[in-house]
């Protein structure tokens, strides 16, 4: 079935994008670990901490989270209370899930747009970090991209349920 193949292709693409993005986040996390270790090390031995560690970690932390939320969604890692719905008939469950996922699509799309808007405002106001003067807006952009990706992942979940429903 060609729609099936198209779906599989789309699914594969989204998977590749989310995992690549999340691995970039993982790289930043490792960087954060090394940065903090160096900071403590230099402070302890030479009384000279790495300047700007605090704000660097803040920015890196925001990117780590932004880049990992879509991957978490792809691996169905976002927790929900399933106790009350898993006793329902499968069709009802699928319907409820589809509605939930659609709401999630809307929610994260809204976040992606509002945050992108905010990034523009921050860019125009030329807000930078206190010590190193790093512009903040790119990190807000990253969050917007992460939220948009997560919305796509949820859209994929919806399509998957619809496809299963159609084939049954």
């Amino acid at each position: 079935m060609s729609t099936g193949r198209a779906f599989n292709k789309g699914d594969r693409l989204i998977y590749l994008v989310t995992i690549s993005v999340s691995r970039i986040g993982a790289g930043l996390l490792v960087g954060m670990m090394l940065l903090i270790t160096c900071d403590v090390f230099f402070r302890f031995l030479f009384n000279k901490p790495v300047p700007g560690t605090f704000e660097l970690v803040e920015m890196m932390m925001s990117a780590v989270v932004s880049l990992s939320i879509a991957y978490c969604g792809y691996r169905r890692g976002h927790v929900a209370v399933e106790l009350f719905t898993d006793k329902l008939p499968l069709k009802t469950q699928n319907f409820i899930n589809a509605v939930h996922y659609l709401v999630c699509v809307a929610f994260f799309t809204a976040i992606a747009f509002e945050v992108a808007w905010q990034a523009q405002v921050i860019k125009e106001s030329e807000t930078v970090t206190a010590l190193l003067g790093i512009p903040i807006y790119p990190f807000i952009w990253v969050l917007s991209i992460g939220a948009a990706l997560l919305a796509l992942v949820y859209l994929l979940h919806v399509i998957e349920i619809l496809r299963k429903g159609a084939s049954q």
Partner: protein
């Protein structure tokens, strides 16, 4: 409608959304946006989405969460838990029920380098279950002790749940960590006593294992150095004042990585697996956090947490009655949610109340963690039980829950003790104050 009333309706809608199976973070975010929209208009309602998500994650203090998870993942992937189990087993395995006791001991040890209850249960499940099967342990006892022992993960420091609690309540994370140590050790002791009672009543439940030679005993201890070293670096460094709890997580993850590399226990594949698991868990926790921050703006606007606190503390009832009511709500909610989500969801509402009643914030953190732990092993949604079941699919859930019962009784006694004697938790931190 008064804002307070809107706040209560918001909480009711939130509960309905959660029970319908909507992802937790999204449920909280939706109610937050909806509530602000209703109270202050659509512009304010939507504009919260502009700032709240970024503010929720761009925090230095939060870096400690993924870094402690990373440290646990490195330890998990490098198999330190296996050595730990064999070491404890060499010393006490020849007692009746000794393998189960060794499991609890190893859980406590692994908890000292891992901040999560599920990781502890999963690790010990794969290591200890086959061993206990070999010695024909009752499956109820073998699975029960792993499910229960796993809960030690979030009480014995470092604990990711206690870190989040500390950030939300502005209690000292260092004090919270110290406060978890004695209750955590006591809990392990309680479990070991429970196992010995179970085996006394039914000697077939846990036959004695082989006695190890003195040489094996000493050799096995040598293999546990990574855990001891890591715990000493992380917890020692915090209390020696060399680094803060936030920095300790970075140092701990780095040290865990170096130890795993030195032992040649980590290849590229394991390393990537550890990172993937960490980013997945990070995405999960912080999506809930983003929802919680949005909900928090709404709750603050309604003044519900503060009004609730002042109303309830104005009642002329014994404060332990209010405390008891909170416990009951916690037990009910804890049965359907993971501890991390529970803490992020309830603490902003409950904590002002606990403070106004004059309870100690650090002590309440320990109590909160204990209750959510107990909920992890009780039906219907004991997450730890499902983890154990995932490792041993041939053992029916009812058998696992039957095996949990004695440990549950021990938990209730342990919790009661912590409530009656707060000093158990507060003595160590009091040395620091």
């Amino acid at each position: 409608m008064s804002p307070l009333m809107v706040g209560f309706i918001g909480i009711a809608i939130l509960m309905a959304l959660l029970m319908s199976g909507m992802p937790i973070g999204v449920s909280m975010g939706l109610v937050g946006v909806g509530g602000l929209w209703y109270l202050l208009g659509p512009d304010v309602g939507l504009s919260i989405l502009k700032t709240a998500p970024f503010d929720a994650i761009a925090k230095y203090g939060f870096a400690v969460v993924p870094l402690f998870i990373l440290m646990g993942s490195f330890c998990f992937q490098s198999g330190v838990s296996k050595n730990l189990y064999h070491a404890v087993n060499a010393w006490i395995g020849h007692f009746r029920g000794g393998l189960a006791m060794a499991t609890v001991g190893a859980c406590a040890g692994f908890a000292a380098v891992s901040g999560s209850s599920l990781a502890t249960a999963a690790t010990m499940g794969t290591v200890a279950l086959p061993e206990m099967k070999k010695y024909k342990y009752d499956p109820a006892l073998s699975t029960g002790c792993i499910g229960a022992g796993g809960t030690l993960g979030i009480l014995i420091p470092p604990s990711v749940v206690l870190v989040i609690y500390g950030i939300l309540t502005e209690e000292s994370i260092a004090e919270l960590f110290l406060a978890g140590i004695i209750p955590g050790i006591l809990e392990a002791v309680f479990y070991i006593i429970t196992i010995s009672i179970v085996c006394r009543i039914n000697p077939k439940a846990g036959p004695a294992g082989l006695r190890s030679s003195r040489k094996d005993k000493l050799m096995s201890v040598k293999e546990t150095w990574p855990i001891i070293l890591l715990f000493t670096i992380v917890i020692g460094g915090i209390y020696a004042g060399i680094f803060s709890p936030s920095e300790a997580a970075g140092i701990g993850a780095f040290a865990a990585l170096v130890i795993a590399l030195v032992q040649r226990k980590l290849n590229w594949k394991n390393f990537v697996l550890a990172l993937d698991d960490t980013t997945k868990a990070t995405g999960m926790i912080f999506t809930i956090m983003i929802g919680a921050v949005i909900l928090g703006y709404f709750m603050t606007t309604t003044r519900l947490p503060f009004d609730l606190a002042s109303v309830v503390s104005g009642w002329e009832v014994n404060r332990y009655i209010v405390f008891g009511a909170i416990l009951i709500v916690y037990v009910i909610l804890g049965c359907v949610m993971i501890p991390m989500a529970m803490v992020i969801l309830t603490i902003p509402i409950v904590f002002p109340l606990i403070q106004s009643l004059g309870f100690d914030g650090v002590w309440f953190g320990i109590i909160t963690v204990r209750i959510f732990e107990i909920a992890q092993i009780t039906p219907p949604v004991g997450m730890n039980v499902f983890i154990v079941r995932g490792v041993a699919p041939e053992i029916p859930l009812t058998t696992i829950f039957r095996g949990i019962v004695p440990f549950f009784i021990a938990d209730v006694i342990h919790l009661t003790m912590l409530i009656v004697f707060p000093q158990i938790a507060l003595w160590l931190p009091s040395l620091l104050r």
